[in-house]
């Protein structure tokens, strides 16, 4: 199981500002290890975020999103204490969801 995401979601005026740091190798499949063997591709392909069950963002990613991806976005209609849930799925079929209370 992968490490948890670090998510910060804070009310800024009429919007909620979200900053996420995910823990993932984002291996492109183009890189070779010390023995010259190609390191197989392994990267996040899908990210979704919801606030109290309402979708607020969805993203499709390729291997050229940086390792340990950073993502920031903003949405309206969220309040302090609402639950923000972020989910990713990768090429290995693994997925991870983390949830925070909006501060």
């Amino acid at each position: 199981m992968s490490d948890p995401m670090r998510i910060r979601a804070a009310v800024k005026g009429e919007k909620v500002e979200v900053k996420i740091l995910m823990s993932h190798v984002m291996e492109t499949g183009q890189r070779k290890d010390a023995e010259g063997a190609v390191v197989p591709a392994h990267y996040i392909t899908k990210v979704t975020a919801s606030c109290n069950g309402r979708d607020v963002l969805s993203a499709d990613w390729g291997p050229s999103v940086s390792k340990n991806p950073y993502l920031s976005f903003r949405f309206k209609g969220g309040a302090k204490g609402d639950k923000l849930k972020v989910t990713w799925t990768d090429t290995a079929g693994d997925s991870r969801s983390d949830e925070v209370s909006i501060g």
Binding site: K15, P40, P63, K67, P69, Y70, R74
Partner: protein, 154 residues
């Protein structure tokens, strides 16, 4: 005696060859593990956009695109895109010189700002395109990012 040795060697040769064929037949499949999503498999920006149903986006000043002129580390180039175009549904990031140009797409339901910040890998100095899909067609802007250390190592 000689014949036996010879047969043995022949057999070894055959199995060796067979093993080699199997390995070489498998390797490219494992290595290439190409993305099955057409836009992410594309090697040219026009092809990636075509796969997403976008043809000839219009250049627009209503897209604010922040990216460094010079990136010391191509493995993590910070990019920030904000669209003030009405009815913005999606923002796409494409790196022209990467082996596969399509980096990411973000779609915004009603109530979410047409804004995103992330970090992308840039293999070599390249134009990065920010394409915006709106209800009234597609628009884009681009930035040249010079990379002193390529992004494929990390």
């Amino acid at each position: 005696m000689m014949l036996a040795r010879r047969r043995f060697l022949q057999r070894l040769g055959h199995t060796g060859l067979a093993a080699l064929t199997i390995t070489s037949g498998l390797l490219p499949r494992v290595v290439r593990a190409a993305d099955t999503r057409p836009a992410f498999a594309a090697e040219a920006i026009a092809d990636a956009l075509k796969a997403l149903g976008i043809a000839n986006p219009t250049k627009s000043d209503a897209i604010r695109f922040k990216a460094p002129d010079i990136a010391e580390n191509g493995a993590a180039v910070p990019v920030e895109v904000e669209s003030t175009l009405p009815g913005t549904r999606e923002i796409l990031l494409l790196v022209e010189k990467n082996p596969h140009v399509m980096s990411a797409s973000f779609s915004f339901p009603d109530g979410t700002d047409a804004y995103v910040a992330t970090r992308v890998k840039v293999a070599e100095s390249s134009l990065i395109h920010a394409v915006v899909k709106t209800d009234a067609g597609a628009f884009y802007t681009d930035r040249l990012v010079k990379v002193t250390l390529g992004g494929c190592g990390g």
